[in-house]
């Protein structure tokens, strides 16, 4: 009687030791993946921001030349060419300056007049399903058509643009090899000098044209947009100091980690992924979820509060140049984004598309109308989380100390990096290209 119970005890002891060993090794294993300051959960969050998670820029099914080298070159030329403007002086690069990560350091874009908004960067925009702060455009090619005809930006019109192409031998040759013959628009009765479906004289001239002729011009206009879109797809952010830190973190290389980010920056990163909730919206390798949020940014003194997404999605749905329209190359019209977009929901009122935070130090002033001038002031804004002028502010006051705010700003400054795009694309094309 005595004996068996000892066996049982031995077995139990064996079991106990075995289980201890397993759990200990599991613990050590989990512990190993967690070099000092971070927990396993934090590491997962930090790694989710790593630039290496960025896939190759997707081709756009609504743009059949979106991965075509000739189109990229044509787009490159168009992007830097000031001919396509009312005064011959404004190109896309006037506001989207390569040296400033395709922004312009101004409160609002400035072309023929003043843009309605702060100039957003174009870097990485090929990844976003929506463009502009209210997402009123659903592709790069369709977006590119707006500034060309905006009276405050290029102030040009699609008729003038078609003429310029026709008259420039180089453009004509490249265009035709990409898209087929340009229409003959020499008949001034059918094709006036200037026309576009916008209010005013240009609109009158446009409406006087036949529907077929309008369509001919629209096709040229759209193809211009598609070439520009192909070029813009090449603008990709490069690995920053933060990304080097993540590399070191992945390799468990403590020495490099401490060289790459200092204590203040690490504390800032901790706030970014924890207490600050920044990672809720500024997530993924581009530090944006490309969704629409109301963060209670007060409008500039003379502006009405921006209605944001609630208007943006209505415009995108009605746009004849959207993914479902006749100018889209997506034969199957599988336009999930438009198809499943939310409309008319109160949450969308005053909701602005989350911007990327890569190269944020170099791309101020900040927010949709350049309302906030410095990063310190941006963090101040999040700390207070003021009531929205319109709709409802999603974020809540953070109650960060002065030191925490400073750390957070220090972290944001670790996201600077030259683009990973070949420098030839970042300069105006040379004449013989």
């Amino acid at each position: 009687m005595h004996y068996p119970s000892r066996i049982v005890k031995k077995i139990a002891l064996g079991l106990f030791l075995g289980i201890s060993l397993i759990s200990l090794s599991l613990w050590v294993y989990a512990g190993n993946k967690t070099p000092n300051p971070w927990t396993a959960d934090e590491i997962r969050l930090i790694e989710s921001l790593h630039i290496e998670n960025l896939p190759k820029a997707p081709a756009n099914p609504s743009n059949s030349v979106s991965k075509n080298l000739l189109a990229e070159k044509l787009g490159h030329r168009l992007f830097f060419d000031p001919q396509f403007s009312k005064n011959g002086q404004i190109s896309c690069a006037t506001c989207h300056q390569p040296n400033n990560f395709f922004t312009d350091k101004q409160t609002k874009g400035s072309g023929i007049g003043s843009s309605s908004h702060n100039t957003r960067s174009i870097v990485g925009s090929a990844y976003s399903p929506w463009l502009y702060s209210d997402g009123r455009k659903d592709s790069l090619w369709s977006q590119a058509l707006s500034p060309l005809e905006d009276p405050n930006e290029h102030g040009s019109n699609r008729m003038q643009i078609a003429r310029l192409l026709n008259n420039d031998e180089n453009y004509r040759r490249v265009y035709q090899s990409l898209f087929g013959p340009l229409p003959d628009i020499s008949d001034l009765q059918r094709f006036p000098k200037n026309a576009a479906p916008i209010p005013g004289e240009l609109g009158l001239a446009w409406r006087a044209m036949s529907v077929q002729d309008q369509k001919l011009i629209n096709e040229v206009f759209v193809n211009i947009g598609k070439a520009i879109g192909a070029y813009e797809r090449l603008l990709i952010p490069g690995p920053s100091r933060f990304d080097a830190y993540v590399n070191a973190l992945k390799k468990n290389d403590l020495k490099s980690q401490s060289i790459l980010l200092n204590d203040s920056e690490i504390r800032g990163l901790r706030i970014f992924i924890n207490k600050g909730n920044c990672i809720n919206c500024h997530n993924g390798p581009l530090f944006t979820n490309d969704e629409f949020h109301n963060t209670g940014v007060i409008s500039s003194p003379r502006d009405l509060p921006d209605k944001g997404r609630i208007d943006g999605i209505r415009k995108a749905k009605k746009d004849i140049f959207n993914c479902m329209g006749i100018y889209s190359d997506d034969q199957r019209k599988e336009c999930d984004e438009l198809e499943y977009a939310r409309i008319d929901q109160p949450e969308l009122l005053g909701a602005i598309r989350t911007p990327s935070l890569r190269n944020i130090e170099s791309t101020g002033p900040y927010m949709h109308s350049g309302q906030i001038k410095t990063l310190t002031a941006v963090i101040e804004h999040y700390n207070q989380a003021p009531l929205s002028m319109i709709g409802h502010n999603e974020s809540e006051p953070l109650r960060m100390s002065r030191f925490e705010r400073r750390d957070l700003v220090a972290f944001l400054k670790t996201l600077e990096a030259p683009l990973s795009t070949n420098f030839l694309w970042l300069e105006p094309p040379s004449e013989n290209q």
């Binding site: 201890s20 989710s48 809720n280 919206c281 993924g284 979820n289 490309d290 499943y340 939310r342 999603e394």
Partner: protein, 134 residues
């Protein structure tokens, strides 16, 4: 502490550990208090944020019989953040054997989500909630 108690504690710790692992994979099945037993398969597994994808939702009675002819509506949001899904998903097909395809799903934040699945059969409507951790 008594010897057997230590063993029990060990085992509990291990179970907690395993539970923790499955939890963090973000694949949550079945549902809570409603008249049906529902489960889903995601086209993306594990589910990633910021990517549009579709689900197949399976609806059975509590007795395990597949529910046919239902209309499914998917809504949801993050209880902690007081906002909904960023998209407006729709049922696009009934696939048979209680399976329904829902397209246009995207999550735009990590954290705790609650997916409200409204199941309508004729006049009958029931809401089953699927908790989800991303």
């Amino acid at each position: 502490m008594e010897f057997s108690k230590i063993v029990k504690l060990q085992i509990t710790i291990i179970f907690l550990f395993i539970a923790e692992l499955t939890y963090s994979q973000g694949q949550s099945l079945a549902s809570s208090s409603c008249d049906y037993a529902i489960s889903f398969i995601s086209e993306l597994d594990p589910i990633e944020i910021n990517r549009m994808h579709s689900w197949v939702i399976n609806v059975k009675t509590k007795a395990g019989i597949p529910v046919e002819g239902a209309t499914i509506r998917l809504e949801g949001g993050m209880p902690e953040h007081d906002h909904g899904l960023p998209t407006n998903p729709r049922m696009t097909a009934e696939l048979g054997s209680g399976n329904y395809r829902i397209e246009g799903i995207r999550f735009h934040m990590g954290g705790t989500w609650e997916i409200k699945t409204t199941i309508t059969i004729k006049e009958n409507r029931d809401i089953c909630t699927i908790p989800l951790e991303l």
